[in-house]
């Protein structure tokens, strides 16, 4: 364990140099390889940069809520009377590093400032508000950094108006901005793409128009009145039109690696007369919660729709935000989900929250190929279906063609953190959309792909604070626990053997003590509290063994859609089915609102995202609101147990995995005494011979080269969501290095073996060893 034991690497100054990380990450099997990979910047920073005692403290510093350091780190006191305002402001301009109860930490990064600019904050506003909130005088470095980072951002917008693309820049603010447009035009690509209109008004043939200023007034209390006035005024902008066919190229030219004027995309949907309107409204009972309102207000801040990402914890009502956005834009909407089950759920959500007519919404998956009627509608499908590059059936080909040809008002993308960048590129290039909204719970990945999202979709528009939502009773208050299960002697002896280096996972997952702890917890929660329990196991062998032994239903990759639905239905409604076993197919999107206990017996190395996603399965608030609010009747109403075998790699991984949640203010309680010592033969694997049999099973299987728990890589499951899986698969395999940018100081995704994965579906049952000559030596004695 060791939550928070590493300082977070400082992302900010690592913008262009993320090369020195990766190398240490390739071998993930040294016992505690944390020295090398975590803090490469520690040496350079310590002492030199981090002593900011010379900053001048303001006289009334007690009343101000934050400290700002020259390296971009910001500390915010949550007990300050100005906390709420300061939080809203900081979340707009900075990346949250950790948000526990009393003190938050943020980092100013180029990306976060890009996001700030794109929601309409200007450089001077950022600096002056920050200065007002700061206990000290702002360090000069920080001011310079804000200037440098925001100089180019947000100065150019790509606006789709009446189906014509314009590149727009606010004019009289500063005359040099005018030069930006000129500079852009001097570029070959952009110059060629320009369409010269006949009614040009400006001196250089630019179109001059007026745009509504920001109506948002979140920070008004902190701004000078004059600044406010300026913000509310209509702004004059200059623009020129470009050829729709060239839009992609122009955008490309504007990225940081070229001209470095990243364009903000805005969609003036109210003035879009070309695309047909879709008749949908939010139903009256759909009352967005305050934070949902806030995230929407960031998106529609100036009357147009901005592209970007909204980050809300699982269970906090992301789908309502998505549906609300679609009903505001009222144009055709393409909604992308990760798998077929969640496609069904999205379609359901649309019907639940909005007045959309049934014939206007359709699902497009390998199983159901519907089409909507009329000239506008909502299509819900998966990433894979759209991005699939291989041969399709005739019917799907037709639908895809329709998707390609339509101009979508909104491209709604669920779980953007799981989808690889390649697929995004593909999806985005295939579909033409005016506005893109990404939804996610955890904007962390263990690879560098998060960076791409910024430019592929747009900046992060809003990110909610988990603890605040817990306090407000909007999501469940989860008691997290890490259960330490000591390895049994025999298992540990095998674990330490060199020849078993590839079976380590099998050994620590199948540790009898872990099994017993799991059994104990299931019993306790089923019987004492009447809870609904999900048990997660990434290791298929373990999943099957556990589920069989305990006689519980399970769902994994090979389970058919029909069977899944059946099992989930039983879990939701039946009193007899209170526990289900899920492989990592259950990580995302499967909505199981009834569950309130999670037991995790094996997991995917050090993936922080997976941990958060899994926790998300039980975050949906249950019971009465007043009970859940801080100080309510029930202190905890959901439980998250992570079982780890002590002294194994698992301990190390679990530390990594928990980091994200810990940064959100969750704490993991360590439990060392499970199962209770007096549990005895009540629980399975009490007797040594049972344990040894289990050990034999875990070990011998691998010698047969059939699929078993043995080989770690084989035991891991490859998701098979859809027939069109190949694209996803390939993309996954290419991931291998890390970057400081993503804050990914966790572990890498494991590489999968393509060949072996085919065996998964049918290999399960063949796994029992039959050939005595191949028995593990421990058992040869007993059998022979």
């Amino acid at each position: 364990m060791g939550h928070g034991e590493r300082g977070r690497p400082n992302k900010k100054f690592k913008f262009a140099k993320d090369d020195h990380r990766g190398s240490a990450m390739e071998d993930d099997y040294s016992f505690y390889p944390d020295e090398a990979d975590d803090e490469p910047c520690d040496g350079e920073n310590e002492g030199k940069k981090r002593d900011f005692t010379n900053l001048e403290l303001k006289l009334d510093h007690g009343n101000r809520p934050l400290w700002a350091c020259a390296d971009g780190r910001i500390f915010l006191e949550t007990f300050s009377p100005l906390y709420k305002q300061a939080y809203d402001f900081l979340i707009a301009i900075a990346e949250p590093v950790c948000r526990p109860e009393s003190m938050h930490e943020y980092n100013l990064t180029p990306h976060s400032l890009y996001a700030a600019v794109s929601v309409g904050l200007e450089t001077e506003t950022i600096i002056s508000v920050l200065n007002k909130l700061s206990k000290t005088k702002l360090p000069k470095e920080m001011i310079d950094f804000i200037h440098a980072s925001t100089a180019n951002y947000g100065k150019v917008k790509l606006v789709l108006k009446k189906n014509r693309y314009f590149i727009e820049s606010p004019f009289p603010e500063a005359s040099w901005l005018f030069l930006v447009l000129k500079k852009l035009l001097q570029d070959e690509v952009i110059g060629r793409a320009r369409l010269v209109s006949e009614n040009a008004q400006g001196s250089d043939g630019f179109t001059i128009s007026k745009t509504a200023g920001e109506i948002e007034s979140g920070h008004s209390g902190l701004l000078m009145e004059s600044e406010l006035a300026a913000a509310a005024e209509e702004k004059e902008t200059h623009a020129f039109e470009i050829d729709p066919a060239q839009v992609e190229n122009v955008k490309q030219r504007c990225l940081p690696n070229a001209l470095n004027y990243p364009m903000l995309e805005e969609y003036d949907f109210r003035n879009d007369s070309v695309n047909p309107d879709l008749d949908m409204e939010l139903k009256p009972h759909a009352q967005p919660r305050p934070y949902q309102e806030k995230s929407l207000s960031k998106m529609f801040g100036n009357g147009r729709a901005r592209s970007g990402i909204i980050v809300l914890p699982c269970g906090a009502g992301k789908s309502l935000v998505g549906v609300s956005a679609a009903s505001r834009i009222k144009k055709s909407c393409l909604c992308l989900a990760t798998n077929a089950v969640s496609v069904d759920q999205w379609a359901f959500q649309f019907k639940l929250w909005s007045t959309i007519r049934d014939e206007n919404i359709c699902r497009f998956t390998s199983d159901s190929k519907e089409r909507f009627r009329g000239n506008a509608g909502v299509v819900v499908t998966t990433y894979n279906m759209v991005a699939f590059g291989g041969k399709r059936s005739e019917e799907s080909e037709k639908i895809i063609e329709e998707i390609r040809n339509r101009e979508w008002g909104l491209l709604l993308m669920d779980e953007v953190h799981v989808v690889p960048a390649h697929m995004f590129r593909k999806v985005i290039s295939i579909t033409k959309s005016h506005c893109k909204l990404g939804l996610t719970a955890t904007l962390v990945r263990e690879d560098e792909r998060i960076t791409d999202l910024n430019f592929l979709i747009g900046p992060k528009l809003y990110e909610a604070n988990w603890l605040d939502l817990v306090k407000g009773g909007f999501i469940a208050n989860v008691q997290c626990a890490e259960v330490w299960c000591p390895m049994t002697k025999e298992f540990f002896a095998e674990y330490l053997k060199k020849e078993n280096s590839k079976k380590k996972q099998a050994l620590y997952v199948m540790n009898p003590n872990k099994f017993r702890a799991c059994e104990f917890l299931i019993r306790f929660h089923e019987r004492e509290r009447g809870d609904k329990i999900i048990v997660f196991a990434d290791n298929l062998f373990a999943l099957v063994e556990y589920a069989m032994k305990l006689r519980k239903p399970m769902i994994y990759g090979a389970t058919s859609h029909l069977e899944r639905t059946k099992i989930l239905q039983a879990f939701k409604t039946s009193r007899d089915v209170n526990t289900i076993f899920l492989s990592k197919v259950g990580d995302n999107s499967i909505d199981i609102p009834e569950a309130n206990v999670i037991i995790q017996i094996s997991s995917h190395a050090g993936s922080r995202r997976q941990e958060a996603q899994r926790l998300g399965r039980i975050l949906r608030a249950k019971g009465k609101l007043e009970d859940r609010m801080a100080g309510g009747k029930e202190e905890y109403n959901a439980f998250f147990y992570s079982l780890v075998s002590t002294d194994t790699q698992e301990m190390y991984y679990s530390t990594k995995r928990q980091q994200f949640l810990i940064d959100q203010g969750y704490s993991f309680k360590v439990i060392t005494s499970l199962p209770p010592p007096d549990a005895g033969a009540d629980l399975s694997y009490y007797h040594l011979d049972e344990q040894l049999a289990l050990l034999g099973k875990s070990l011998t299987n691998s010698t047969n080269q059939v699929l078993t728990a043995g080989d770690d890589a084989v035991g891991l499951e490859q998701l098979e969501e859809d027939a069109d899986d190949i694209a996803l698969h390939k993309a996954r395999r290419s991931m291998g290095s890390m970057s400081a940018m993503s804050g990914a100081n966790g572990m890498v995704y494991m590489e999968y073996s393509t060949g072996k994965h085919k065996l998964i579906g049918h290999g399960q049952n063949k796994s029992k060893p039959k050939d005595p000559s191949k028995r593990h030596h421990l058992f040869k004695k007993r059998f022979g």
Binding site: G4, R6, R50, C69, C98, S667, V670
Partner: protein, 502 residues
């Protein structure tokens, strides 16, 4: 170099450990008698005062008759203390223990009661000294000197004024508080950590100095030459006093434990340990903030006062002709005893569930102390940001600091914002600190001997039976005929094997 034998817990323990002759010498000084009296537990004080004008020995039986039913344990403590300090002389007569006040002590205390103490020196009049530092300035000075000294102790090179300490003195103190391994930077020992932690509490209270200083009745009474006994009813006074008690309990005691060494060094300059103690106690009866001429001091005392100035006990100043010293409050409260330790303190540390630690402090000393068990990441004008990590804790454990000490430290210094919460330090953090400690203790070392190459299986088996019989067999490998036997029975084993060989 003589070894430190007595582990004194506070200043008076130190005094008590002096040889009898030295003590008797000390009691010739009226002020010391008063200081001793003050330092006594309340019951002991009462006994002394009751017996002050009694010239004959009193039997222990009659002493016990004064007691209430539940007072016997206090009585025992009081009597022990009095005997330790040689205030009571024990005379065994006719199988009965009787007590008598030490006659030197008695005479001098009587004199002191009647006439009040007269210091060997008078304050220099204002006309000579011109402007003296105000009480605030003096406190600030004492504070600064003190912190500088402590900083110097834990980390050489951090303190700004490092040059002001005589290196010999530094070395002496460091010997007690730091452990230096070959070629490594000196590290704090466990007692050193304890010491610092106690000092920390005082540092948090330093702002109280000024407030209390104005209202302190202590000095007034002293000026009137009255003896202050019992009734410590003024809360502010009590607080401040507790503060000073803590101070001296921990600081002076340590200082003087080290004095055994110190003593040797100063002896070369002709200073005796008893003289030093006498001088310190005498100093505590001076009025803080007044100037006293250096000429009134003996040569030994002049040597000593320079070191004391380094510690912030006195401030040295030079006029046109004369030089003088100004005792600070640190000096004038040397003789206060430790009787109760309820002190109100202002915490400053916030520990979060993610193991991050935010300390509202601008003190370098705080920073250094936190650094002992946490990784300090940011230093801001009034905030220190750190993280408690496995590595940082392992460092601390290696230095002999225990998990319990760290947890207690974090709890006692919890920022008011979190102090009222229960627990004030997140449970998962305290649990983890303890777990990490127990993690280190999982391996137990047992000295042992390894035997192999037994000539025959019989010999091997006999040997292993023998070892088992003596509960000394730790491990055996019957196949390869090897075993490990506890070191304690190694000799027995050897004899046994020799017997077998014959």
């Amino acid at each position: 170099m003589p070894q430190v034998k007595i582990i004194a817990k506070n200043f008076m323990d130190m005094v008590a450990s002096l040889p009898a002759i030295k003590l008797d010498l000390l009691y010739r000084n009226q002020f010391i008698c008063e200081a001793i009296l003050r330092s006594l537990p309340p019951l002991a004080k009462k006994y002394v005062l009751q017996m002050l004008y009694i010239d004959i020995p009193i039997t222990s039986k009659s002493l016990q008759e004064w007691l209430l039913a539940d007072g016997s344990s206090k009585h025992k403590v009081a009597i022990d203390r009095l005997i330790q300090l040689r205030v009571f002389e024990v005379i065994d007569r006719k199988k009965e223990t009787t007590y008598k006040l030490n006659s030197t002590f008695q005479t001098n205390l009587r004199k002191h009661m009647i006439s009040g103490g007269i210091l060997p020196r008078e304050p220099i009049p204002q006309s000579v000294t011109a402007r003296l530092p105000t009480s605030e300035e003096l406190d600030a000075y004492a504070h600064e000197q003190w912190e500088c000294f402590l900083l110097q102790l834990i980390s050489s090179g951090q303190a700004k004024k490092s040059t002001s300490f005589s290196s010999s003195m530094m070395r002496i103190f460091q010997r007690g508080l730091l452990r230096q391994r070959d070629k490594e930077a000196p590290r704090l020992t466990e007692s050193g950590f304890q010491f610092l932690v106690c000092i920390m509490k005082l540092m948090a209270l330093l702002p109280l100095f000024c407030v209390c200083g104005l209202m302190d009745p202590y000095t007034d009474k002293l000026n009137e030459g009255k003896i202050e006994i019992g009734s410590l009813s003024w809360p502010l006074y009590l607080n401040w006093k507790t503060l000073m008690q803590l101070f001296f309990c921990h600081f002076v005691a340590r200082l003087f434990i080290l004095c055994s060494d110190f003593h040797v060094l100063v002896q070369e300059q002709g200073v005796d340990q008893a003289d030093l103690i006498a001088f310190l106690l005498e100093l505590s009866f001076h009025t803080p903030g007044e100037a006293y001429s250096l000429d009134t001091l003996t040569d030994d005392q002049t040597t000593m006062i320079k070191d004391l100035a380094d510690l912030g006990l006195v401030k040295l100043q030079k006029g046109r002709k004369e030089s003088w010293f100004i005792p600070t409050k640190l000096a004038t409260n040397l003789s206060v005893s430790l009787t109760d330790s309820s002190s109100r303190k202002q915490g400053f540390v916030v520990v979060e569930t993610n193991f991050r630690m935010y300390a509202y402090s601008s003190s370098k000393l705080h920073c250094e102390i936190l650094r002992l068990f946490a990784r300090v990441e940011y230093q801001l004008p009034n905030l220190i940001v750190g993280a408690i990590t496995k590595e940082s804790l392992y460092n601390a454990f290696e230095n002999g600091i225990t998990a319990e000490q760290i947890v207690t430290f974090l709890q006692q210094n919890a920022h008011p914002r979190v102090a009222e919460k229960i627990p004030s330090v997140p449970e998962n953090v305290t649990d983890q600190i303890r777990l990490w400690e127990t993690d280190l203790n999982r391996v137990e070392m047992t000295p042992a001997h390894f035997y192999d190459e037994f000539p025959s299986r019989d010999v091997f088996e006999a040997a292993s039976d023998f070892a088992r019989m003596h509960n000394g067999l730790l491990w055996e490998d019957a196949k390869k005929m090897r075993m490990v036997v506890m070191a304690e029975i190694h000799m027995l084993m050897r004899e046994h094997l020799r017997g077998q060989n014959k």
